[in-house]
Symmetry: C2
Subunit: 138 residues, 2 copies
């Protein structure tokens, strides 16, 4: 199935601009997740740092991408699957970070297991981050 960048932007009532098209394209073309710095390097001096920050923020708010909690507390982003409800992302899949190459994967097929919390605790979201070696580095 094809991911239409223009359609995605329109659907979310966002103006179609160069930065949004290019940044969204990067996510579509990348299997793994991207950090702000990755985008900055890939795009060179084409966009201002601030524009990249704001674009990422907007995409997160609209539910186009989601943030990934990482073991080293760096901020990474990845495309949301179509089913993501707008603005509220259901983080029901597992993330994997390769210790060698640094790539972050969304393991969409592994769902987060249910946990029995202590009395009085209720969960709204569960994030699972696995570190180790990925298929390429093993």
């Amino acid at each position: 199935m094809l991911y239409s960048i223009i359609e995605t932007l329109k659907k979310n009532q966002l103006s179609i601009t160069d930065s949004r098209k290019k940044i969204l394209e990067m996510f579509v073309k990348t299997k793994g997740a991207l950090a702000h710095a990755d985008i900055e390097h890939q795009s060179g001096t084409e966009f201002d740092r601030v524009t990249i920050y704001r674009t990422l923020q907007t995409f997160v708010e609209k539910g186009i991408i989601h943030t990934i909690p990482t073991a080293d507390n760096s901020v990474r982003y990845a495309l949301c699957k179509e089913e993501c409800s707008e603005g509220h992302h259901h983080d029901d899949h597992v993330h994997f970070m390769c210790d060698d190459c640094g790539t972050t994967y969304c393991l969409d097929k592994i769902s987060v297991p249910h946990l029995n919390l202590p009395n009085g605790f209720t969960a709204s979201q569960t994030d699972v981050v696995v570190s180790g070696k990925c298929g390429k580095c093993n």
Copy 2:
């Protein structure tokens, strides 16, 4: 069982200094996790920012405390249980972050479930962070 601050420092071959005693004491007295900023506020101008950073770093290296990955990518620390092997922390328990009061708990009794990774992927560490409402805020 009593947690002896001095003993812990000695055991890890660390000089016994004011900052280490006080910062370690904060962790012992706190049920939840602490961020660098928490420590800075609680200790006022007593210690330099840099000292706090270095103390936390040292404690992590020695396996006295461990870092907690959070959904909002802020760095938090919590006391390790005695069983932690020096320098290498076995992060086999679940962490809980309250959306209301911001407290972070180590749910020591809930162990991280085993996951079936895709072919070629091997795990070295698994972090689980649950967000929601804690016992006090529910």
